[in-house]
Symmetry: C2
Subunit: 410 residues, 2 copies
């Protein structure tokens, strides 16, 4: 990889090769960060060159990705999700210039497809035939789908509470699925032990430094889709912390190579019932474990494994933290559906729910992007709590007319 | 519309303006067909011009669409779904060169988004503020989503059996949903009466001739994505008949303007428990009503309203008919998930299930495209019938090891 210099430990600063023989620091066990050769990349990735590219997926940004040149790429089309101008929604939230980035339209219907694409490509290139992770659901389905597309085996550990839709996806993709009677932390620990024991390729975002590099492509796209006019704010829901750190890395990379001239402020949205990252920002104290009390399963992470990276991203960007209740999340799901035609899962709309609460803090002339991280179809049970019920009627015009009158529809 | 000459009645041949004041023949009530000015279009839509276009959605093919020039377009990104080479799946099915077109990645997760995009754009341009349809589910959710994105009201009639996922989508998109205690035919009739009574814009594919024009974009894309080398066969599941007719129209349009040099043969796949179109082909008799006995709700149409168009398409193309059982559909869902990382709903994978059965009829060197018409997340209940169950375990390595041994996994 001519574009990658190596991997440096975020803890002790030790330098490593960027290969898959070790994913964490050999000296202190700390998490690694990928270091790019921006001077080299600058000469290869320009606005003009991007404008000519015909590849509309995350592979569009190969110069900024830790992918070996000879790699077989995943065939699934991850990335290049649509960015919608959302005026009606903006009006409802009190934000004048709002865009919705719908990452629910990825191959397995969540932003995590961006990370798993990197994982399966690197695993295959390293000659590994089995990948594994623990996940609240989306990382799992994206890894299972990506592995299936690449012809790899997948072992997936999910907490028992994972929504049926996500678990069914895993099974259809042919993964070995272990449903763990416990919370996310216990699920993670069991997966870590099993990965160690059987030597599988580790797609846990808490360990694997390459995943964040996939997630950052959402920011590369936002910038390019806005003609490299960087938004003032980017709102995103936060669980483990890896995604918001990835969002920040994407913008920083573009800034480093001179493709953008400023950086956005991040709006970190967590659930009131599980907000360890935001609480650390708000109190100035270290991250402390919290219970996982929220309907938004994808961000119900009591012990965020990428918490430090998330804190750094929020702080560096001069970010805002907002915590939202389950009621606010469900209400936003309906508001977004009705005003945009976009259906997000609870964690997927949490970022936008946060925007509604943070609107007063955002200047009137600001441009805001809110990322929908997962598709509402993944968790119909939650959506049903807010969707309401259809009118159930016999096939009869009189009955219909009467019902309409009763509801003041006509 | 400089590209559209008008609309001609498929029944009596009467000529009409292509506007929305009447959607069916004023003389005989027959269905209309849109007539294009191919000589004009030929000068505007060339391979070279397409290669330069930056619009990657169905609006890419504006010259071949019945859209008024000054129309406000739907913001949702319908179309330009990925076309995957599927070698492992092909091997399992006995087909050497196989591609999967994943239309489950459309905005509301089905091919029907292509049709509804046309409907909402035409409705808005005609100054209508309410759209309506009856549907087994996907036309419904696509219309509800499209209407929400355009700021229109939607009234949706679904048969009571429609899967929860689809109904929940409708409600989240803010549609007025009428769940009809009856089959698709009764649902259709009630919607037709209500549309007549209250003057809503009619998005029923049995009536509205513009919808097929949206559906045909799937073929325009297949051709372009294959570098205008037309596949020998295109497999698609058939319910009402409008989709397969649209698929055929797309290829015929491209042929008419000289962008492709041959036409594919269609593989019409229906469910054994509901195959009135295929039965008419096989017996040479007119289409006769059938019961709606299949798990594949999107193609459970006992009285296909676009049946004649479907028959014409299959016959003109020298097509093949295949009927598949629910077991074969569910088995294919798993095979496709495991070998491609693509998760389709029952009707979405039915086309591929048919391929497995028809493989013996297909020459070894043929190129085949199978269209996945809807996302598996729309109907988790059906998927669960074939997905199997995860291993449910405590967070404990000993328990895990023992379970793996029992299952011969390690």
């Amino acid at each position: 990889m001519k574009n990658v210099k190596g991997a440096v430990c975020a803890g002790c600063g030790a330098e490593h090769e960027a290969d898959d023989s070790t994913l964490t620091c050999v000296k202190c066990g700390g998490m690694l960060e990928i270091v790019y050769d921006y001077d080299y990349i600058k000469t290869r990735l320009t606005r003009e060159k991007l404008a000519e590219r015909k590849e509309f997926s995350m592979w569009r940004y190969m110069e900024l990705l830790p992918i070996e040149e000879a790699s077989r790429l995943s065939p699934l089309r991850a990335g290049w999700s649509p960015l919608y101008r959302a005026d009606r929604l903006g009006e409802l939230l009190g934000i004048k210039t709002l865009y919705i980035k719908d990452d629910g339209l990825n191959p397995t219907s969540s932003l995590k497809d961006r990370a798993s694409a990197i994982a399966v490509v690197r695993a295959a290139h390293a000659g590994r035939n089995t990948v594994a992770c623990s996940s609240t659901g989306n990382a799992a389905s994206s890894l299972a789908g990506g592995a299936a597309a690449m012809g790899l085996r997948a072992f997936i550990f999910v907490p028992e509470r994972a929504p049926k839709g996500k678990v069914t996806q895993l099974l259809i993709f042919g993964a070995q699925v272990i449903s763990v009677r416990g919370n996310y932390e216990e699920t993670f620990r069991l997966s870590a032990e099993a990965i160690e024991r059987w030597g599988w390729y580790n797609r846990n975002a808490a360990i694997n430094p390459y995943l964040m590099e996939g997630k950052k492509t959402v920011s590369l796209e936002i910038a390019e889709q806005l003609g490299f006019k960087v938004p003032d704010y980017v709102a995103i829901s936060v669980g483990d912390g890896c995604t918001i750190a990835g969002v920040w890395k994407g913008f920083k990379d573009l800034y480093a190579i001179g493709l953008i001239e400023k950086l956005p402020r991040l709006i970190s949205v967590q659930a009131e019932g599980c907000c360890p990252v935001n609480r650390a920002i708000e109190t100035g104290k270290p991250i402390e474990r919290m219970d996982e009390n929220t309907i938004a399963d994808s961000i119900a992470v009591g012990v965020p494994r990428n918490g430090e990276k998330a804190l750094m991203a929020i702080r560096e960007s001069g970010g805002i933290t907002v915590n939202v209740s389950d009621e606010e999340i469900l209400e936003t799901m309906k508001i977004m559906g009705k005003s945009c035609g976009v259906f997000g899962e609870p964690a997927g709309v949490a970022g936008t729910a946060g925007l509604k609460k943070a609107a007063a803090l955002i200047p009137a002339d600001a441009t805001v992007v809110s990322v929908v991280t997962g598709n509402g179809l993944k968790d119909i049970v939650s959506a049903q709590k807010t969707a309401g019920e259809p009118m159930l009627l016999p096939p009869d015009m009189d009955a219909l007319t009467e019902e309409f009158k009763k509801r003041n529809i006509i």
